[in-house]
Amino acid sequence: MATADLAHLISLAREFRVQIIRMLTHAGSGHPGGSLSAIDLLTALYFGGFLRYDPKNPWWPERDRFILSKGHCVPALYVVLGQIGYISEGELLTLRKVGSRFQGHPYPGQPGERFPGIEAATGSLGQGLSIAIGMALAVRMDGRPSRVFCMLGDGECQAGQVWEAAMSAPRIGGGRYRLDNLCAIVDRNRIQNDDFVDKTLPLDPFAAKWEAFGWHVIEVGDGHDMGAIVKGLQSALEVTERPVVLIAHTVKGKGVSFMENNPKWHGVAPKPAEGIQSIREILGVREGDWLDYLRRTPKVAAIVEELQALETK
């Protein structure tokens, strides 16, 4: 991928981080840590030319599918879907409010009111990969070229159903379908709800487990290095005969100093002042330069004002 394209992805991801913090601060609850660890991966997947979709036709039958099995990180998916144009920016701020279609966890909506880009209900960990296998089989049987991507958390990989799915994907149908159209992506941020994964129930040797179950494993050493992510996804698409799992080593809360690698920020939304500090850090602006920056950047200034207004509410 050309350097200019990489730079574009990096700048998109930065904007997405700001929007994630903005949404969560408005909502007053939600999961920043895993949303921030996943956003670079999602950005590359959706805007690096890997996931195929038609912004004008969200239900294009040949589209690739994406299942967010770690459904609590749906704010990251909402901002991505907003960028595609499936949703308006203003609507994002209704997250988690009564009557909003922006549920706290992915909800595909009832027939007639389907949510473009949300392919299945998730939020109970462990279920997404099985759904993804079903979809990968379905498109195969229908003779479509679609691929299916599924993102899992590492804590989520303690769930038995993940390994039922892992065991079946390379073998289902007696291996007739060879699901090389299936790609699992694990956000390996090493933290779950209560604590670090290693202090709760370690997963290692993690890559070896997937390999033993018959998957092709690709590790991305730094899941925030856009170049490395892009390379990882490129090689994932080249794999034939077997499903692929991309294990991306990430930092939970990436981009915000006080959230990074801190289990406390799994499921707590920032308060307005914390939200504003987060945005400043994401944008890489020093405290002393902040007011000046805001004067020069009305779009960010508007968001900051909006969050300040929440303080008095």
Binding site: S29, R96, V98, S100, G123, S124, G155, D194, L201
Partner: protein, 308 residues
Amino acid sequence: MPAKATRVAFGEAILELAAKNKRIVVVNADLGKSTMTQKFAEVYPDRAFNVGVAEANLIGIGAGLALSGWIPFICTFACFVIGRFETIRLSISYSHANVKIVGTHTGLGIGEDGYSQMGMEDLTLARALPNLAIIQPADEVETKQAVAYAAEHDGPVYLRFTRQALEPVSPTGYTFQFGKGTVLREGTDVTILGTGGPLFNCLQAADRLAAEGIRAEVINISTLKPLDEELILRSGGKTGHVVTVEDHTIRGGLGGAVAELLSEARPVPLKRLGVQGFGESGDPRGLYAKHGLDPDGIARSVMKFLKI
């Protein structure tokens, strides 16, 4: 006494009980922070286990501990544990394992996280298992006593707790009695049977109804199984109208249990209040208002039911 979430009261209760009862064990599934059992894990590290995000394993390990003489409290969100119904059915229920299943984060009251995290059908499922006792306390005082009772109860128990703080509703000097409901307010025109989260709103609705000249009897049904049939039949027979109120689907929970009872033993007109469809995200108060579980909503439904 200030309002307190029953999950918080549970966390305090289990800590106190464990000091005396050395057979109590707590098993978590990566929701120790949320089920309020982290303090227990700090104080009694040898009797605390976290199995990670793995609820079926949680249930099985609980069963094994119980079948070998320990008293495990297995703790997670109600939807995730009762959702592994068939595992409970065999490993705990049919094995007659003395496991205390703790389900927190029940109903619309959890608010913003939305339906996927809400215990919404757990009572329906739990009721189907013959030997599983079900207790849903309505405030702090009752929770502490109910947890102490569950530890002594010989057999599996399902304890259902709230994420949100609950105002006290129990009378002063209250003593929890397993299988017994409590009349919180006497009345002659309609019986309101409430359980858990919305009970305080039932009492407030009774105030509003009183202003309209309707005397509502409000009863706390904290043991859902076995049901206090005698009390319900007596009160329903007296008032001639029964309303059930629960933060749970109207299919098969308290409303379902009461419908089964009344239709067989003494048909009395019944109105079930609760959640009709799926739950959803939103602030808890707003959700209670939208789904008619706030004081005004309950009072309105009662008036409509009485055709006033």
